[in-house]
Symmetry: D2
Subunit: 119 residues, 4 copies
């Protein structure tokens, strides 16, 4: 166990909230709202950039984006903790589903929406 | 190195995209859009529930929510990879900032918006 | 024709963008991002409030929320204009669909997700 | 008064909810969640398109996008109604603020974020 993994992050965030008596606000409903609000701050950084510009951010912009990604991870870990969900296991299960849903041979170079493949 | 951490998830998702020739679609701009769209699917599960109901999901609902959280993590890891950002290190830095911004003694039991403390 | 309807708003927003040479940034893709970012600022106002609190905002909070709603409307009108879509006619069509999808007798007092009725 | 304006839409949506006993679910908090979820469905349509592609949608895609815009308008009108906010008046006030914040001479052809001008 290192100090640098999702499980230690989960524990530290739980302590952070407990120390501030914030668990009363951290219902999954509220955390889902906080999570999407943080994603939107990320989106805001990219909304007037071209795709090409979004791949080559200035150092200042990249620093800001980095902290927005941190916020998204923080709320994601919190909501998963509150719902007693193992994020990495869930991601593994979802990847297995996606492997079935988007066979590499069939979807190569094609990014149509998932629903278009779910026939 | 286990097979069960963010770094192995990052590698597997990069391979998943490469196998499908999807990197052409995975600009940070586009991934930010995909990320927020997944968060919204999570929000949709909670929008008509009370806070109390959101803490006690049915097994079926919890399964669905679990896969939405997985989707959020997947796109979050992808965008961080594309921007060469270490998510866990970023979260550690953000927690340090939050410790300063929200001293436990000052904000206990109070969840006003961050900006209200940034005077 | 009054000066106080969606059509005059559409015209004035088109002029606002043209005067600033901003049409180059106002692709539907970018405007969709700006729209959701504005919605998120609205969500942020409500994320730590109870439902009851969200119905009785302070004057200061209500003022801020009012301007967020304005931002949402502004980007909504812009994206509809760029796509040459008549928002009011679209809403009328959608209400007709919803009347069929959610017959009052069947869904009274029940706010389950749309998909659960679409069998 | 025509039957084709925001005020008549507001009235019809209020009746739609009342007929289904849905006002109990329509707190501003919940409606803000529903609003952002609808925006995300819009974003989803555009996330893998280039900006150029987003300006020239197929007829089928445009139909779908049109109904997503309708959903956004519907929830926007509902939340404004619940908060007793006049959307058009709010938009007028916001445009006046934006005229001051982004003087045409100063920002021509430049879409940096608002905050960068608010010095």
């Amino acid at each position: 166990m290192t100090n640098d993994d999702l499980e230690s992050l989960r524990r530290d965030l739980a302590a952070f909230a407990a120390n501030r008596d914030w668990d009363q606000f951290h219902s999954p409903k509220n955390l889902a709202m906080a999570l999407i609000a943080e994603c939107a701050e990320l989106v805001e950084h990219f909304q007037w950039l071209s795709e090409a510009q979004s791949t080559t951010l200035s150092a200042e912009k990249k620093s800001a984006v980095r902290l927005e990604l941190a916020d998204v991870l923080i709320y994601l870990v919190r909501i998963a903790d509150k719902l007693d969900i193992d994020l990495l296991a869930a991601a593994r299960d979802k990847i297995a589903i996606n492997e079935e849903r988007y066979p590499a041979d069939r979807v190569r170079g094609d990014a149509r929406r998932a629903s278009e493949y779910e026939i």
